[in-house]
């Protein structure tokens, strides 16, 4: 099988499991929704302030949701030593990494779409045609987050206190993505399309850089003993 076929087959496996169980996306969506409601309660009924805070709240909710989704995906792979079998079967180990990036990107992208729709209702965002430009930003952010997330998962999988260590390793690495994602969405909400495009370019560079590093380093990070 070619690399692309391996990636498609492995990503389809992850997505099929998620569609059947809905554990990762369900928990992450609940976490994101709770974050939005809690911020609304903490800030109070000040519509302007809620609108200003919306991008930051959404991206921070997404970061924590990423930890939940990534951990769930990893647990499924590691159960019953399935990962060792997968490692032996895969002709090209980069396919395992790229498949994880594809499936995480899909789940995190859809989660963001849901969070933005929820924010329209809860944080008084106005629906405008320009907001459609959020879609490429959402998918670029999801790609960048997934690229770092898949690598960070491999790094902590053998560590003691894995669940504590995952956010410690993952979240600081995601800060450039957070900054660019917040910058792009704030610019879009303010109607500054050119600024948003600049942040989008930065996101594209970050995503490509992290994905490239992941392809190069995944085998070293994930090889079972």
């Amino acid at each position: 099988m070619s690399l692309a076929a391996d990636v498609a087959a492995l990503a389809a496996k992850d997505i099929r499991i998620e569609l059947r169980t809905r554990q990762a996306s369900g928990a992450a969506a609940a976490l994101g929704a709770i974050a939005l409601v809690l911020v609304g309660l903490a800030v109070g009924p000040d519509a302007d302030r809620l609108r200003q805070l919306a991008p930051s709240v959404i991206w921070i909710a997404l970061l924590f949701a990423t930890v939940t989704v990534a951990d769930r995906f990893e647990r499924i792979d590691r159960a019953d030593d399935a990962f060792s079998a997968l490692w032996l079967v895969a002709a090209d180990r980069r396919a395992i990494y790229l498949a994880k990036v594809v499936s995480l990107t899909l789940v995190l992208g859809l989660l963001q779409v849901g969070l933005w729709l929820l924010a329209v209702a809860l944080l008084n965002l106005s629906l405008r045609v320009e907001l459609l430009a959020l879609l490429p930003i959402i998918w670029l952010t999801a790609w960048s987050t997934a690229s770092v997330g898949a690598l960070a998962l491999a790094l902590v999988s053998a560590a003691a206190h894995r669940m504590l260590l995952l956010p410690v390793v993952l979240l600081p690495l995601l800060v450039p993505t957070l900054v660019a994602g917040v910058g792009a969405s704030v610019a879009l909400l303010d109607g500054r399309i050119a600024d948003a495009a600049g942040w989008g370019t930065i996101l594209l560079i970050e995503a490509a850089l992290f994905c490239g590093l992941g392809i190069l380093l995944y085998e070293a990070a994930a090889a079972p003993e």
């Binding site: 770092v148 690598l151 491999a154 790094l155 902590v156 053998a158 560590a159 003691a160 206190h161 260590l165 410690v168 390793v169 979240l171 600081p172 690495l173 800060v175 450039p176 850089l209 992290f210 590093l213 380093l217 070293a220 990070a221 090889a223 003993e225």
Partner: protein, 233 residues
């Protein structure tokens, strides 16, 4: 690289290099504190630059050495390179902390506050957290080769933040001044102050070299102890 072939000679070299670093530090910091005139705009408080800038430089250097050590380990699978990477990351973390603390003191005197969510300050704090995560990851893995392999990967990915820290003052507006030495064009600092600053950078680098050597030796001893204590199969 272990440096432990002849303990007597090794101790002699370490003492000599430590003494050299100590003398150089005392001399250059003294010149910085009392030997050169104060900055025309900031006055005496600007003298903290002679600790702040070398600490920031050492953090960059230390994390670069961690990157090199990690790449070399992944290439050669020689634990000696892992020891270099780990030792340098620890020293880099300490000097990042010193840069943040000295920057906070300088900030209080010039900006009126200890901390600001300025791009340079924030990205430096993130750098600190990344390498704290690096050391935590190492501490949580028992197997030496696995620990070396995984931390090498994190050392490579974590280094991505170093150029972001350096160029953050050019990419985003903030309170922190733009680079004065490593920048396109001539340095924007008085030549005498620049010379003293460079002398301090050199003496801090000697201190780094000495600390790195000591730390590598300690790590080598720890590895030997682990090997000795490992149960035979």
């Amino acid at each position: 690289m272990s440096g432990l072939g002849n303990p007597g000679r090794t101790l002699g070299r370490v003492a000599a290099s430590g003494s050299l670093a100590a003398v150089a530090l005392v001399v250059t910091i003294t010149i910085g504190l009392v030997g050169v005139p104060p900055d025309a705009a900031q006055g005496d408080v600007q003298r903290i630059m002679y600790v702040h800038v070398p600490s920031a430089w050492l953090a960059y250097l230390a994390f670069f050495v961690t990157l090199v050590g990690g790449v070399r380990y992944l290439w050669r699978r020689n634990l000696a390179w892992d020891r270099v990477a780990a030792a340098s990351a620890e020293i880099g973390l300490v000097f990042t902390g010193v840069a943040i603390l000295s920057g906070a003191i300088w900030g209080k005197a010039t900006w009126g506050k200890w901390w600001d969510w300025d791009p340079r300050l924030t990205t430096t704090a993130i750098l600190f957290l990344i390498y704290a995560g690096y050391l935590l990851l190492r501490a949580s893995i028992v197997d030496r080769h696995r620990r070396a392999r995984l931390s090498a990967v994190l050392g490579v990915v974590g280094f991505v933040n170093v150029p972001i820290v350096h160029f953050s003052v050019l990419w985003w507006r903030g309170l922190h001044q733009a680079p004065t030495v490593i920048r396109p064009g001539d340095p924007t600092i008085d030549h005498l102050l620049l010379a003293v600053l460079m002398a301090n950078v050199a003496s801090f680098t000697l201190l780094y070299a000495w600390l790195l050597r000591r730390r590598i030796e300690l790590e080598t001893l720890r590895d030997r102890t682990e090997i000795t204590l490992e149960p035979s199969p």
